[in-house]
Chain length 189, copies 2
């Protein structure tokens, strides 16, 4: 998506190895009209897949997931992050390690909101090592729903998460895929 690549080049900041900050429109401040455009593009790519629910994880995936779900005319479900000690019943759960926060969290979805009748599109802002998306795929499999694939705003190819998911047969679509980056220099795939 050309307009996204331009914004990443203009507004993105590479902070140390592997960390791209796009706080001005995606992760901290959100540009709502631009987010709708990104959601429309993700919806277009999965238009024929029969998606019945969009699944994301709190927090920064929610806006683009909502925009995608709006374009597809389906609900969004966002997995909640909890401390790993939760004993709540009736939830699908997965462990996710966050490289940014350097800790493991548990993500949960109440069983009411995913069923074997669903076809699920996973949406998130970033795909780096693939920890969050792998956890969401795990939750979709627990539910018995069909997985249409995963749509992300930015894929950092060099962190190999997308490659791992594709090897497991998951269709992955990224609006912008970054092959390499260093301060002042971002190369798209």
């Amino acid at each position: 998506m050309q307009t996204l690549k331009e914004r990443i080049l203009k507004e993105g900041k590479v902070l140390g190895p592997g960390i791209l900050k796009v706080d001005s429109f995606l992760n901290h401040q959100i540009d709502p009209a631009f987010t709708l455009q990104m959601g429309k593009e993700l919806a277009r790519r999965f238009a024929g897949a029969g998606v019945t629910r969009v699944l994301t994880v709190e927090a920064s995936g929610i806006a683009v997931a909502m925009a995608t779900a709006l374009a597809l005319g389906v609900p969004v479900v966002f997995a909640k992050k909890k401390k790993a000690s939760t004993q709540q019943q009736d939830v699908y759960r997965a462990q996710v390690y966050s490289f940014t926060r350097q800790e493991a969290v548990e993500i949960c979805v109440t069983v009411d909101y995913l069923s074997p009748q669903d076809t699920v599109l996973i949406v998130d802002d970033f795909l780096a090592h693939g920890e969050a998306l792998t956890g969401l795929v795990n939750i979709v499999r627990q539910s018995g729903a069909r997985l249409a694939g995963a749509g992300v705003v930015i894929e950092k190819c060099f962190q190999r998460g997308a490659e791992k998911l594709r090897q497991e047969g998951v269709r992955v679509e990224a609006l912008a895929a970054i092959a390499s980056m260093e301060p002042g220099r971002i190369i798209f795939a």
Copy 2:
């Protein structure tokens, strides 16, 4: 907002004292088209206020904040929750106690995204004891921005958060205000 009250009556579950679960369209699953309607209504109520930014806190406020900001044609900023030990520079921060989680967290907004030139509308899903909103008001005041007010989806009047904010001069608008509730019985104000 009549359609919202109907959904609360139909889908809401009162779980013990003071806890209303509306997971099916607001807190865990999101109905995107309905969320856009709620955002439009909040935007309408603050139409003349010169709002330049919508401020919320992750995670369940993000969808309705985005819908409100879309209708107003302005960006959303969402405060991030961190453990209270964060030493990051260049952020406005406030301590917030969560009655649901029974712990204090720090919420932060990078200084880049709120300035004395802004007029801020705070948006959130719930207004109960007012802890989160009071933290957000505190952050707006630190930034020197003007506060247009706070718009929430559901106010639980009996938990007095809105009353406290109004006494401090904050304009508060709720799409549905609940005077009292017990399992099977929700009374609007």
